[in-house]
């Protein structure tokens, strides 16, 4: 009987089906916990799913590559989802037109702060060069960040992990930082979270309010484009300068 179970396991663990199914199961279980807890920021569903799946893979001795051959179908959707950001962006077109100067300046300030502060802090604490280059695009959504890391010589898969971690950190701490600064405007709160914590921050903002979510989505899209332009340019200037 146990031999038969092993046969089934060997078969299943080699198909994409298992990676895909456990990802959806883990996420929905994590989301259930999150919603039951009234969307408490500390119970971030991405963090819980990642912890559950990493534990499961470690316990069953499944290599990440095997898992990813199934989970890549979910990962792939990040591309079309990035394109789809054009729609919430367009829904805010009127405000974008009216406040584009303010938005642009806040975006540039936040975008520069995100990359420069991450690299400078990690450099001061002794991180290696590949880690620094992988950290630079940490605040933009995964497909964009991985593309940037690849272009500037970081490790795209490490960047993906740092991006997801940044998103989780941002979604968890945003409420506390913004409350401490007494920022009440949901547009401002959403925009700040979107710049710092991309899609995971945006998902969080949508759970707080429609307005915060729309501005977070706007910020995420703008920051993706801005970082994609600024990071390679900054490195190019640095290399010419040195």
């Amino acid at each position: 009987m146990s031999a038969r179970f092993e046969d089934i396991w060997v078969y299943l663990s080699a198909t994409p089906l298992l990676g895909l199914t456990v990802t959806l199961l883990a996420y929905q279980a994590a989301y259930w916990v999150y919603s039951r807890a009234g969307f408490h920021p500390l119970l971030n569903p991405v963090a819980i799913s990642v912890a559950m799946l990493a534990t499961l893979l470690t316990l069953t001795g499944t290599p990440y590559q095997t898992y990813f051959s199934g989970a890549q179908f979910i990962h792939f959707l990040l591309g079309p989802a990035t394109v789809a950001l054009a729609l919430p962006l367009y829904a805010q077109f009127a405000r974008l037109k009216a406040e584009w100067r303010q938005l642009l300046l806040a975006l540039v300030a936040g975008s520069l702060t995100a990359s420069v502060s991450a690299v400078v802090i990690a450099w001061a604490l002794g991180a290696k060069k590949a880690t620094l280059l992988s950290l630079a695009p940490k605040s933009v959504t995964t497909p964009i960040a991985m593309g940037i890391a690849e272009k500037i010589g970081g490790l795209p898969s490490l960047t993906a992990v740092l991006v997801v971690s940044t998103g989780i950190v941002g979604a968890v701490i945003a409420k506390y930082v913004l409350d401490a600064l007494a920022i009440a405007d949901h547009a401002v709160r959403g925009f700040a979270v979107g710049v710092a914590a991309h899609g995971i921050g945006t998902a969080r903002a949508f759970q707080v309010s429609e307005e915060a979510g729309a501005f977070a989505g706007l910020a995420m899209g703008l920051n993706g484009a801005a970082t994609a332009l600024m990071v390679p340019l900054a490195l190019w200037l640095l290399e010419r300068g040195s």
Binding site: V46, G79, A81, L87, E99, G170, I183, A203, A219
Partner: protein, 113 residues
């Protein structure tokens, strides 16, 4: 839903081609997003089907980050070796970014309704 998904994929593909062809440092999906945005502005409205599909995709946005996040497993040694700089840099930089963005935006919007 099918035409909407096709539109998203076509814009992504054209974006990828543009990025490769012109040697742009910007990832293909971002170019696709900018082009779709420009199309919607030129068109003057967003088709409701496309809006619904985009909504569906973006509602579960955080799910899409899970497979990449599990990649933590293969980088665990590097992350453990540089845990202090990585963790402090992520947390401090994210907090500072939220604060700077919010303060600059709030300050610039002052006096507006």
């Amino acid at each position: 839903m099918l035409p909407a998904v096709t539109i998203l994929l076509v814009y992504q593909t054209v974006g990828e081609i543009a990025a490769l062809w012109l040697g742009l440092p910007i990832p293909g999906p971002v170019i696709g997003m900018v082009m779709l945005f420009a199309t919607l502005v030129a068109r003057g409205s967003a088709p409701s089907q496309l809006r619904d599909t985009a909504n569906g995709l973006l509602t579960h946005l955080s799910l899409l980050f899970v497979p990449a996040g599990v990649g933590l497993m293969i980088h665990i040694d590097r992350i453990r070796g540089e845990a202090l700089p990585i963790v402090i840099s992520l947390v401090a930089s994210t907090a500072v970014t939220i604060a700077v963005t919010a303060l600059v935006f709030a300050w610039l919007r002052k006096g507006r309704p």
